[in-house]
């Protein structure tokens, strides 16, 4: 890619094979302004896309585009909200309704849902096209769902998509170096990079101001506003994936390629504190005797801070930066693990293997609660805030809901395991087929990754050559919290949270299988005499130091 092309973020072209032909033609902007005029929107879409191709590409121009796009979206939402009354009136009416009902004062928001109104109806048979023309789906939702991009013109295979923690920004990464941070609501690019380098993964950091990209030799951090390179993390040698722990401000990665299969000390999970830049731990993956295999994929357990990695030996490792070895290993699949996901509340985890089995795990009992077979090995997994499981294989996206309840609730772990049909290796026994909540096929290109958009009933799907947004009712957290990252946070609150995040950064030592770290330490402090405590702490520090030193020495050899 010698010369920098224009923006590759073009709306998805009308695809004759597309299951949603009507919506395929509407891009975000057109969809926002004229959701009910789909027939007329094709022209508008072509116009808008042409304009964007010319304008976007460099950040200054993208900014201009942003402002114009923003204006239009605003108009669209205003018209959507109007419906005979002004937005303010509607708000007042809503407030009145809320006051009327005491219960609704306490629960002012409720999540979405999709329920059959007849016993013979199946939610899984409802296509996106049919869902979006449903009368109770409003225009704003249609416009959001219509945010789709055709990325075919960049002639590369897209490998990653990620939303920021607030759900405000979207990050797309192509294998040949096209990385774009997008304000998807306004349908405007924030930063677009053509890296001329191999890209394996990309993720936002603690807010949508910075993102990290796993490139051929190292991990890089970029500014999402200007697109400027902020930092190079050379200690992350040829990272295969990136995972970010938002409360600990740790960026983790494991090496890709030949190194990932060696017993070398450099074959480790590298943890870097992005606030200080120092490597706080590098537990070794390639320890002889562990037989984990290469760490192919990873997911963060936000509640405990542990990292779940899927290995080529069918094992899932659970890691902490302060332990030299995995805290736990789950022998989950008979073939290599292809995808892992952890529920945001830290209670459930899902794994998928090359044996085309998907397994769901209860992280409190460490039991497999369910395992089922797919038609092909799953390429990506994600669990939404409400517990909806999304998985993708070839060019199909399947969504599962309530798959934990059957085996987990009110049952002993043994009984749960018995019902699930297997204990131990997930491939050993596969339970009865589970009916998916929703199914969507995106013919043409295999799906690379599925990611739920925080606080929205939306699922972002990156295929090798396009980005699509699917509507998944009931997937998003309905109640926003102003103290957590949220799409409507003000600049001031974002600043405050940035300072707070740095001040209240949790120490790496607090990462463990449980969150009662301070409790234990507090108890130790009370029980042990001061001297003994000091010697114990010193011994522990010395051990860690030696481990690190040993690892470094081995790397030096």
């Amino acid at each position: 890619m010698a010369e920098t092309p224009g923006s590759l973020l073009s709306p998805l072209k009308n695809d004759s094979n597309d299951a949603t032909p009507d919506l395929g033609t509407t891009d975000a902007v057109a969809g926002a302004t004229a959701p009910s005029h789909m027939a007329a929107s094709g022209e508008a879409a072509a116009k808008a896309s042409g304009k964007r191709r010319v304008k976007a590409g460099v950040s200054v121009k993208a900014k201009a585009e942003k402002s114009s796009g923003k204006g239009r979206v605003k108009k669209g939402t205003a018209s959507a909200g109007r419906g005979g009354a002004t937005g303010r009136d509607r708000g007042a009416r809503e407030a009145n309704d809320a006051v009327k009902d005491a219960a609704s004062v306490l629960h002012t928001v409720s999540g979405g849902f999709l329920e059959p109104s007849h016993p013979l109806e199946r939610t899984s048979r409802l296509s996106q096209a049919a869902l979006l023309v449903h009368p109770s789906v409003d225009a704003a939702t249609r416009s959001r769902a219509a945010f789709s991009l055709s990325l075919a013109s960049s002639q590369q295979t897209y490998v990653a998509a990620a939303y920021s923690r607030s759900g405000r920004s979207l990050l797309l990464a192509g294998g040949a170096g096209h990385v774009a941070a997008i304000d998807w609501r306004a349908a405007t690019p924030r930063a677009e990079l053509f890296l001329n380098d191999k890209v394996r993964d990309a993720t936002f950091l603690h807010n949508d101001g910075l993102f990290a990209v796993a490139q051929r030799k190292a991990a890089y951090i970029y500014d999402a506003t200007s697109g400027g390179q902020v930092h190079v993390l050379r200690s992350h040698v040829s990272p295969a994936w990136l995972a970010f722990l938002p409360h600990h401000l740790l960026l983790a990665s494991a090496p890709a390629g030949a190194l990932a299969n060696t017993p070398s000390a450099a074959n480790a999970i590298y943890y870097t504190d992005v606030s200080t830049g120092e490597v706080v731990g590098r537990p070794r993956v390639g320890t002889p005797g562990l037989a984990l295999g290469a760490a192919r994929c990873a997911a963060v357990n936000v509640s405990t801070g542990t990292l779940h990695t899927g290995h080529s030996a069918g094992v899932v490792g659970i890691w902490s930066p302060s332990a030299g070895a995995p805290l736990a290993r789950i022998l989950s699949h008979k073939a290599g693990v292809t995808a892992v996901a952890v529920a945001p509340d830290g209670r459930w985890a899902a794994t998928a293997g090359a044996d085309a089995v998907t397994a769901v795990w209860d992280l409190r009992t460490w039991q497999q609660v369910r395992a089922f077979r797919n038609y092909a090995p799953v390429t990506s997994l994600d669990i939404s805030a409400t517990g909806v499981l999304a998985l993708s294989y070839s060019s199909t996206v399947e969504l599962y809901k309530d798959i934990y309840a059957g085996a987990g609730a009110g049952m002993s772990p043994a009984a749960a395991a018995a019902q699930a049909g297997s204990v131990g290796r997930g491939g050993g026994g596969v339970s009865a087929p589970v009916r998916p909540y929703m199914v969507e096929r995106l013919p043409g290109s295999p799906v690379a990754r599925v990611r739920f958009c925080p606080y929205e009933d939306l699922l972002g799907v990156i295929t090798t050559a396009s980005f699509r947004t699917l509507v998944v009712p009931g997937a998003g957290e309905a109640a926003l919290d102003s103290r957590a990252p949220n799409p409507y946070e003000s600049r001031r609150s974002r600043r405050e949270q940035e300072v707070r995040a740095a001040l209240e950064k949790l120490p790496p030592a607090s990462i463990g299988l449980t969150t009662d770290w301070a409790k234990g330490r507090n108890k130790i402090g009370k029980q042990l005499g001061r001297k003994r405590l000091a010697s114990e702490v010193a011994a522990r520090a010395g051990r860690q130091e030696r481990n690190l030193h040993r690892a470094g020495a081995a790397k030096g050899k």
Binding site: H134, A140, G346, R521
Partner: protein
């Protein structure tokens, strides 16, 4: 199919965009996946709070200017207003201070070069009473608002030529509204006023109780000792009185009875006695050995309903098989390395301050055996008097360098009026530090106090002495026959020689 999809109105969340009045909506959702794990987060917050607390700790406020020219031995606060404080110094100067303005509003020298040992506000706080070596109780009138003042220094017959307030000529006391000074039979060393009645008590060769309207003591309480140096009324149980004497004793009196109640003999002399203003039965003494001891007077024997501890009166005999329970201090407060000269309770009764010969002021939780704060400056000399302010927010210290210093009772808390959120933030910070105080990092930061080099050296020496004693005891135990090793008294009993009744 029934469908509902989340769809928020951006406008309602972003606020109206048509001007400066845009108010964003806020939401709260306690779901755990939106927030960091609580316990590690709290531990980190506790550590931050401890750090910030130490960074903001600026305990010294100011010293009262113009000050005395000799060591300050007496400090007293008004019982009706928090703004008035009286101080007295060794050169015979008595000063009344208005704390909010940091000004001295009256200066009197009743008898030049007559060492004023102690000072107190009278029961209704209308007068300041000062006692000196010149056998004189000097009364200075204080107007209710504290602004207009008049001193009345009346010579009593036989004294003659008292140099009092400028407006009052010598020998005119009887002429001015019956105001009196009181002539005692011996040099006076301490004074305290009753909390309800116009009565005060002085300490000299005996405890004498005076009626403010009479020139002679109405009661004289003695118990075989001729040199008392402190006296203190109980603020709750108002007929009770405690004093300490040079025979190392602390004596309790009830003025409704003819004889003193009880005498506690310590190993070393008690310099001061302070009653807990909220717990009528608890008092704390400051001792020459550098410790403060808190006692529950009910456990000194003779007061509880316990048969064994019932008072021995004529006609009853204690049965021999019932053993008298050992008299012990409730708490031993060990941190000073020099004699404790003064103790003053906070009005809440939950903290007290102590001033010591080791040139430091320490603040204590009333139940704690270790101090929570130590205040010192490079120039502060031996501290003879400390005083908690009436609102419990300040501590005053009077020392040998002739300064009266004003300190914050809570070093890290700002003295300005706090907004409710600021108040809440400070409260939660201190609660967090308290809750995670056993975490090594938190404890290290929160407890660390710099002390002057001589104090540090003395602390090390004391620790070594204690360790040697401990080792010696272990050796004695190891070399005694089984069951023959002498039993070692607890720290709470060790300094108590005996109790008498």
């Amino acid at each position: 199919m029934k469908v509902k999809v989340l769809s928020r109105s951006d406008a309602s969340w972003n606020g109206t965009t048509d001007g400066a009045g845009a108010v964003r909506r806020t939401g709260r959702n306690p779901a755990p996946h939106l927030h960091p794990p609580l316990r590690p987060l709290e531990a980190v917050r506790a550590l931050n709070a401890a750090k910030v607390g130490r960074m903001l700790a600026r305990p010294f406020l100011f010293s009262l200017e113009p000050g005395h020219v000799d060591g300050v031995y007496g400090l007293a606060r008004s019982r009706t207003t928090t703004s008035l404080v009286a101080s007295a110094s060794a050169d015979g100067e008595l000063k009344l201070w208005h704390l909010p303005s940091q000004r001295s509003i009256a200066v009197r020298t009743p008898l030049p070069r007559a060492f004023i040992r102690d000072v107190a506000f009278s029961c209704d706080s209308s007068r300041v009473l000062a006692v000196s070596d010149a056998k004189l109780v000097y009364a200075m009138r204080v107007a209710a608002d504290g602004d207009t003042l008049q001193a009345r220094a009346g010579p009593v017959e036989g004294v003659g030529g008292v140099h009092g307030g400028e407006e009052t000529p010598a020998g005119a006391s009887a002429a001015v509204g019956g105001e009196m000074s009181y002539l005692a039979s011996a040099p006076l060393s301490a004074i305290d006023a009753h909390y309800k009645r116009p009565v005060f008590a002085t300490a000299s060769d005996a405890v004498e109780v005076w009626d403010e309207t009479r020139s002679e003591p109405i009661q004289r309480l003695t118990w075989g000792v001729d040199s008392l140096h402190t006296v203190s009324w109980n603020p709750v149980e108002q007929d009770l009185l405690a004093s300490a004497a040079s025979d190392r004793s602390v004596t309790l009196y009830d003025i409704r009875e003819r004889t003193p109640l009880r005498k506690l003999v310590m190993a070393l002399r008690a310099n001061t006695v302070a009653w807990n203003p909220m717990e009528a039965f608890n008092f704390t003494i400051g001792c020459d050995d550098g410790n403060c001891y808190s006692f529950d007077m009910r456990l000194l024997g003779g007061f509880s309903g316990d048969k064994a501890a019932r008072p021995v009166t004529a006609g009853t005999r204690r049965s021999r098989d019932v053993k008298e329970p050992a008299v012990r201090a409730r708490t031993v407060h060990k941190d000073h390395v020099g004699a404790v000269m003064s103790v003053s309770y906070s009005p809440t009764g939950r903290e007290f301050a102590s001033g010591s010969y080791d040139r430091t002021v320490r603040l204590w939780d009333a139940q704690a055996s270790r101090s929570k704060e130590v205040y010192h400056t490079r120039r502060m000399q031996k501290v003879f008097s400390v005083l908690y302010s009436g609102d419990g927010r300040y501590v005053l210290s009077g020392s040998d360098d002739s300064d009266v210093r004003v300190w914050k009772a809570d070093a890290a808390r700002p003295i300005k009026p706090l907004l409710p959120p600021e108040q809440a933030a400070l409260n939660s910070a201190s609660a967090l530090v308290e809750r995670y105080s056993a975490l090594p990092d938190v404890r290290r930061i929160a407890k660390k106090r710099h002390v002057p080099k001589p104090v540090k050296a003395a602390q090390l020496m004391r620790a070594e002495i204690a360790a040697n004693e401990e080792r010696k005891h272990r050796n004695v135990v190891a070399n005694s026959g089984k069951g023959k090793a002498p039993k070692r008294k607890s720290v709470k009993e060790r300094s108590i020689v005996t109790t008498l009744e």
